[in-house]
């Protein structure tokens, strides 16, 4: 006996898997918390559109894939193209990529490779720029090339203190700009560059305004909601993203006036750092916020690192602007790929102070070597500063939920105890 139903194609199966993962997280955001923001509906709908209904967002536009947030989006927007950040959080793509990468590699990179291996896109990038940041992304770019995608390497230095690095990176960015400009058949001009810097700068300023509300004693927005908002910047139309965030800001202002607090009275305030939570891999943030704690700030590339530092231009001439843009992506970056990274420690400590946090949770993907390695210096620094910190390793599989929850809960309870003892 055979059933008469048709069988899904591999792409249909992958789409269903993605939809199931996406809906699972979106439902958790909508349903698990006491006061979800109404203006988040824009983002729920956006994610459903892209990951459940698989509808394209950028028809008629040139999509530029970037392997890492280090590719200056200001230049992409200036040339009238759309950046699509290819960092991927789907377990189903991670599983596909696992067959193509070494066993112990980073799930995020495996997921990106798996995504390209299946060549199943709703907004397919016409060209991919791959900055030589971490080893795995650098080599993953080569794998994508083998699949027949157009991939251009953009040389990125691994030290940031020296003048040589700065000069090298500025040169790389110029090459990138020339290459993309040829690809697009469009010229980079003083005016389109200036407009683009200002536009991205405005988006960043919106992020900073969102963060200001998280410094309050009563916090009107959840950390997981923030991740969903900042993550949308990876692929959304920048103008609609900005107007959606403006609406969120209005609602937050209202909440501030009526003293809404999204967490409990005793909920510890957490700074989240480490490997980036990329939708729908919000496993750890959700565990934290479901365990009566609140993420008030983060130090990760899918959120804070992408928005924190502004381009500072001296002279609004084309070459000066390009150099200033380059500097933002190198000098301000706190990525652990750099040899020395005291900036990252300083930033974490500052976030803890500015946001009155009670502790830090440091999450590294198993296989994300640089974050795993930098754990030592960060933990030592936090100890010196007297800041409690929990280090956890996890991956994209849904299976370790129980053990991870217990560890996080125990840490949060210890933070609560500390608070009570102080009083």
């Amino acid at each position: 006996m055979h059933t008469e139903h048709t069988i899904e194609s591999p792409n249909e199966r992958q789409n269903r898997h993605k939809a199931m993962e996406a809906v699972h997280i979106l439902n958790a955001l909508k349903e698990d918390f006491k006061s979800p923001l109404k203006s988040m509906d824009y983002f729920y709908d956006l994610y459903e559109k892209v990951y459940c209904r698989h509808e394209p967002l950028h028809e008629g536009k040139t999509k530029i894939g970037t392997m890492c947030i280090q590719i200056p989006s200001e230049i992409i927007y200036a040339l009238d193209a759309v950046p699509i950040r290819l960092c991927n959080g789907f377990y189903t793509d991670d599983e596909i990529g696992s067959d193509l990468m070494p066993q112990k590699s980073c799930p995020l990179v495996k997921a990106t490779v798996g995504w390209f291996a299946s060549d199943n896109f709703t907004d397919k990038p016409s060209i991919v720029y791959s900055p030589t940041t971490c080893d795995q992304k650098t080599k993953a770019g080569v794998i994508l090339k083998e699949f027949g995608h157009d991939v251009i390497d953009v040389g990125f230095p691994r030290t940031k203190e020296s003048e040589e690095s700065r000069a090298y990176w500025r040169e790389s960015v110029k090459h990138f700009a020339v290459n993309l400009s040829k690809f697009q058949g469009k010229k980079l001009t003083r005016s389109n560059m200036e407009n683009s810097i200002k536009k991205v700068g405005y988006a960043q300023s919106l992020y900073h305004r969102l963060c200001d509300y998280r410094k309050e004693h009563k916090v009107p927005i959840l950390g997981v909601e923030m991740f969903l908002i900042t993550n949308a910047f990876f692929f959304d139309r920048i103008d609609s993203w900005m107007s959606a965030v403006e609406k969120i800001l209005l609602e937050l202002e209202e909440r501030k006036r009526s003293s809404v607090h999204v967490a409990g009275k005793a909920s510890p305030r957490i700074v989240y750092t480490g490997s980036p939570p990329i939708f729908p891999n919000y496993k750890i943030p959700l565990i934290i916020e479901n365990s009566d704690a609140l993420i008030v700030a983060d130090e990760s590339c899918s959120s804070n690192r992408m928005f924190n530092d502004m381009v500072s231009v001296d002279e609004w001439n084309l070459y000066d602007m390009i150099d200033s843009v380059s500097d933002k992506y190198l000098k301000a970056c706190t990525c652990p790929i750099f040899t020395q990274n005291d900036d990252r420690i300083r930033r974490i400590v500052r976030l803890v102070r500015d946001y009155s946090a009670d502790g830090v949770i440091y999450q590294a993907f198993a296989g994300c070597q640089v974050y795993e390695m930098e754990q030592r210096s960060v933990l030592a620094a936090m100890e010196r500063e007297g800041i409690p910190i929990l280090y956890i390793e996890s991956d994209y599989s849904p299976s370790q939920q129980g053990q991870l929850t217990t560890r996080v809960e125990a840490f949060i309870e210890s933070l609560k105890n500390r608070k009570r003892m102080k009083k």
Partner: protein, 268 residues
């Protein structure tokens, strides 16, 4: 006429198959295992023989299999359910399909068996997490949703939304997840298809461990659930073979074994 009996004493049900000398299935019976395996098995066997008008002396050879096989002392021989399942599946699909992999979902466990070209068992794997993704799991789900187990199929195909995945592998935790989903007014249809896909993903992982090849045979009670069949087919990416009576494959395999045992003895 000579007859051969295969009796499979499982955690949830006792399955009995009777085969003739040509290894054709002439009758079968399924009854609940209950608390007294041995007594119920004896009763079920004598009832079945009566229905088929077979005298007990016409039964030449009896093979027992399943968890409770050692409790059935009248058996001439007993074999593991892995071997019995492999033999039964190939006999049931004979002339229709070439079976290379078997998925069996029972009351409290699930198995994946891979066969070589001659039909020998080369590898098998069993679930290692209690009742996760088994027949019992489906019972619990149906009970929570206040529908019958036999209704799961129609709910599955009526689902229009995204299947709602269940992340717990434990039947007890899954229960609270399902109650949570119901509390948030999600449709029963999407929950049912989500449960099916969650089980299907897990079972496909299990069969991948034994090296799945196209030519998959699916048996055990849950194979009656077309929704689960559809989910497994989608996860695998191809059609699978479902026998006419999915619950009795293993007991049928034991009956075929009984026949083979008799034939080889009478030859020698």
């Amino acid at each position: 006429m000579r007859y051969f009996v295969g009796i499979d004493i499982g955690s949830t049900a006792i399955k009995i198959s009777v085969a003739d000398e040509n290894k054709n299935l002439v009758g079968h019976k399924i009854s609940a295992s209950g608390s007294m395996f041995y007594k119920y098995a004896q009763e079920a066997l004598s009832e079945l023989l009566k229905e088929l008008n077979i005298e007990s002396d016409q039964v030449i050879y009896t093979v027992a299999t399943g968890y409770g096989r050692k409790l059935f002392k009248e058996a001439d021989e007993n074999i593991s359910e892995i071997t019995a399942n492999a033999i039964g599946a190939q006999q049931a699909a004979k002339g229709v399909a070439q079976i290379k992999t078997i998925i069996n979902i029972g009351g409290q466990d699930s198995k994946a068996i891979s066969l070589d070209a001659e039909g020998n068992v080369v590898n098998f794997a069993m679930n290692d997490r209690c009742a996760a993704g088994t027949g019992k799991f489906l019972d619990v789900v149906a009970m929570n949703l206040e529908i019958g187990v036999d209704e799961l199929e129609s709910y599955h195909f009526k689902s229009v939304g995204t299947p709602l995945s269940i992340s717990s592998t434990c039947a007890v935790f899954a229960e609270s997840e399902i109650i949570g989903l119901l509390g948030n007014n999600h449709s029963v249809e999407d929950i049912v298809s989500g449960v099916h896909y969650s089980i299907a993903k897990r079972i496909v992982k299990l069969v991948k461990r034994v090296g799945v090849k196209e030519g998959v045979y699916f048996d055990g009670g849950p194979a009656l659930n077309g929704g689960l069949v559809n989910a497994i087919e989608n996860e695998l990416g191809y059609k699978i073979f479902i026998p006419e009576y999915p619950q009795i494959t293993t007991s049928y395999g034991a009956a075929v074994m009984a026949c083979d045992a008799y034939l080889s003895e009478s030859v020698s």
